[in-house]
């Protein structure tokens, strides 16, 4: 889905985090930004309310979907 924003080009990043070393990373949300650095700043500002031991972001475009709700199986 294209975004109409103030930036010439942006992309969506999924944000993953976990609270303890023994639990797996899970998606906590997403951010939209024109570059990786701003995406990191936005992810930390938006989702830092919990005491995460790890947080990472992944460009949504880098995720390869095998199947999804509503798609052909």
């Amino acid at each position: 889905m294209p975004y109409t924003r103030v930036h010439a080009e942006v992309q969506e990043y999924d944000v993953f985090a976990r609270k303890t070393r023994v639990e797996p990373l899970h998606q906590v949300g997403s951010v939209v930004a024109p570059d990786d650095n701003l995406a990191m700043a936005y992810a930390r500002a938006t989702y830092d309310e919990e005491r995460w031991v790890e947080m990472m972001i992944v460009p949504k475009a880098a995720i390869i979907s095998l199947w999804a709700p509503g798609g052909d199986t």
Partner: protein
């Protein structure tokens, strides 16, 4: 405080949230720094009137354009962070231990400021913020260089100026710094000070309106 004023006025929702988060970070950093100063035997600075309140002129009035936010974020915040790094790597134990979390948080302020600096032409605001940052660091052979020689600061004035330039992607620094009228306590050359409404909020007077009579 100025960051927080943009928490519903930035160009994107994400930038709104970042403005609020960075404002909260910096309030926390102020508390850490004041606590450290108390521990080092320095009494709280007086904030009862605008004239004694120490802030760079860039923060005197609310910003009216996003480019001013970007300039403050990219330049002033970087200058403050460099000074914090110099303190954290100096020989004062209290500061070596207390400032680490602050520097971790400031990393994200730097990322935010630098990215927006690429997105926005902050020209005049950037130059003004840079000039005021250099004035805030101070002239060579003054207190900052003395503290550096004593080991309390890991960097002297020249290093801080150079490192600030590097943080700003090698942009050309402002030339012809004027030191006439420089105040060593407030670390600025311009007269004036923070606006009364902001000063009242900083002193907690805005909240007092909601206190019960006699409270």
């Amino acid at each position: 405080m100025r960051y927080a004023e943009w928490c519903i006025a930035a160009p994107t929702l994400e930038a709104d949230i970042a403005a609020a988060a960075m404002g909260l970070d910096d309030i926390g950093h102020s508390r850490v720094l004041y606590g450290s100063l108390r521990e080092l035997g320095t009494p709280d600075a007086g904030t009862d009137d605008g004239a004694s309140y120490a802030n760079v002129p860039f923060l005197d009035r609310p910003w009216t354009d996003w480019s001013e936010f970007v300039a403050a974020n990219a330049v002033l915040d970087s200058a403050f962070t460099l000074m914090m790094e110099a303190l954290a790597n100096g020989n004062v134990d209290v500061l070596r231990t207390r400032l680490k979390k602050m520097l971790q948080e400031e990393r994200y302020h730097t990322l935010h400021g630098r990215s927006w600096m690429q997105e926005v032409n902050a020209g005049a605001a950037l130059e003004r913020a840079w000039t005021e940052s250099l004035q805030w660091i101070g002239p060579e052979n003054s207190d900052v260089d003395e503290l550096h020689r004593a080991g309390r600061l890991a960097h002297g004035v020249r290093d801080l100026r150079r490192l600030l330039g590097e943080r700003l992607d090698g942009k050309t620094p402002p030339s012809g710094l004027e030191w006439g009228g420089w105040e060593p306590i407030r670390r600025r050359t311009q007269p004036g000070g923070i606006d009364q409404a902001t000063l009242d909020m900083l002193r907690g007077l805005a909240e007092k309106r909601y206190m019960p009579a006699g409270g």
